[in-house]
């Protein structure tokens, strides 16, 4: 299969997957709960209010039509109106989305190089004392819940040392220094957890490659270990590593949900949790779709990059 053919097929799969995801999100938010208007207003709402909201939300239409109308709106940038605040969902989300993207971006920029360096360091001395200690530490860290790390961070840096605020205030247009202070603890927590996972997988990918015969050949020739890793092992590891990184950036979603709660960080996850609590279904629906779509797109990008990095695949295109 040629490279362009591969990318085209992947794109097709992406579109189908995104459609499936949008159907699932719609089912979850508008069909599963039963009468959304009744659920949103609670059991003490008057029948008139429920009927009014039902008409306002267009709930009297059949579900399939409502789905198509919602999808058409989303594609044109109209995400509907919040039941609780009566504001357009798009306005509520825009600033939150930027904040969450910033948190995820800063985390990725710090965590990925750190984790790769750590993973390579462990792989070079696989079986040695440094590697043994780091392996256990990294395994333990990657199995630790984000909320423990976040709680310890608050306890130590905010309450004990009083260096940083417990709560991340972030107002639009604030200077870089206050932004950095607001980001420090949430991003730090995420970096710790994510880089542990990436480092662990990087180590296993590279140690695996190091057991191949061509590496043995290079060793027998007397090539120094760091050159073997840099020239022979790393090049072949790029594909799998890109996949691991993308997978972990996607796993970041769960960490973001927890961290935004602990630090009251004004991001998209916090907006979604509040919306779930107040049963503001249009907002839940929009946030869920954004999170799921970015997850899906990221995994696909990794697939394509991994394929581009594999010379055997590029060569077949001729």
């Amino acid at each position: 299969m040629s490279l362009t053919g591969f990318i085209l097929r992947r794109m097709m799969a992406l579109v189908l997957l995104l459609l499936a995801v949008s159907v699932l999100v719609f089912l979850g938010c508008e069909v599963l709960p039963g009468d959304v208007a009744q659920v949103a207003l609670g059991q003490f709402a008057t029948p008139e209010n429920v009927a009014a909201l039902r008409t306002q939300m267009g709930l009297d239409e059949p579900a399939a039509l409502r789905y198509l109308a919602w999808l058409a709106g989303v594609l044109q940038g109209d995400w509907g109106t919040s039941i609780v605040s009566r504001l357009p969902v798009a306005t509520m989300m825009s600033e939150r989305l930027a904040n969450t993207a910033m948190l995820a971006g800063v985390t990725t920029l710090i965590a990925v190089p750190l984790a790769l360096a750590l993973g390579i360091r462990m792989a070079i001395s696989a079986g040695g004392p440094v590697d043994r200690v780091l392996t256990v530490v990294v395994l333990a860290l990657s199995a630790t819940p984000e909320f423990l790390v976040a709680t310890l961070a608050v306890l130590f840096f905010a309450l004990h040392l009083q260096w940083l605020p417990t709560i991340s205030y972030l107002s639009p247009g604030s200077g870089w220094e206050s932004t950095a202070r607001a980001l420090a603890l949430p991003a730090g927590t995420l970096v710790l957890v994510v880089s542990a996972q990436i480092a662990r997988m990087t180590r296993s990918i590279i140690t695996n490659i190091l057991s191949y015969p061509y590496i043995e050949m290079a060793m027998l020739k007397g090539v120094p270990v760091h050159l073997i890793v840099a020239r022979h092992a790393l090049l072949n590891a790029i594909g799998p590593i890109v996949n691991v990184v993308a997978l972990n950036v996607a796993y970041l979603v769960s960490g973001i949900v927890v961290v935004e709660t602990v630090f009251a960080y004004p991001g998209l996850a916090r907006l979604m949790i509040d919306a779930v609590q107040s049963r503001d279904f249009p907002v839940v629906q929009a946030c869920a779709l954004i999170f799921c779509a970015s997850y899906v797109v990221l995994t696909l990008l990794a697939d394509i990059i991994a394929r581009l990095c594999d010379p055997r695949a590029v060569a077949t295109e001729g």
């Binding site: 630790t144 909320f147 949900v257």
Partner: protein, 279 residues
Amino acid sequence: MTTPLTRAPAGRSRPGRPITFLISAGILSAMLAMVVVSFFWTPHDPTDFLTDDAFAPPAPGLWLGSDSLGRDVLSRLIDGARVTLTMAFAATALAHLIGASLGLIAAARGGAVDMVLSRIADVVLSLPKIIVGLVVVAALGPSIWVIVGMAAAVYSAGVFRIARALGADLAKLDFVEVAQSRGEGLGWIIFGEMLPHVLRPLAADFAIRTSFAILFMSSLSFVGLGVQPPLADWGGMAHDGLEGLSTNPFAALAPAIAVALVSVCLNLLVDSTERRMKW
């Protein structure tokens, strides 16, 4: 053909470390003992308001201090073990029941059944679990059954993929083909011929997946959308304790550390057993 000059293959260079194995097995047994004990005894009633002080620091008789309503943190920790661990175990067991049977059926039958099941698993696996959890809780409310059922459904896709891959390797082997040509039914082929060969890898997956389920459900409770009062699991306790971090940090830390201990020990246990078996 390992020569002394080359490094030994990854992770197989030394026998499994019995110390890690013993420590993690010991801690996990202690946690299980805590679940059993919690049915009969806790130092105080976990729902009693013992003092008027919210987040009182530890004192004799109140070894981990009090929580936001003046209840004993230690008693609630012991009681929470039952809720947390039972729910995670139930969800994982259900996920394995569904995922492993469907995975082996897909591997043995192939064709359209395999295609449809695999595509469904692909879609489920392409969704971030915590977001699925939030949507389902928004739609159906945070009851125990909803949470356990949702976690089981989400995790069964991962089990399915592993069981299908293991089964697909087996289906090509002679003994399965012989059974097929003998005219054995699908049920016998799956449970009599294939299942015994996949039990060991599935057991390792079970342990790791239980740790995922614990982390997942605790995170859901931690953001306030898991088990609701009066029931309390560790994630929910850790959330309630956040407000009182400056006066009694144990109200938040103790349950959070408990979650971490169980999850880390499950991972270390599997890691050390697998290493030993490869050796």
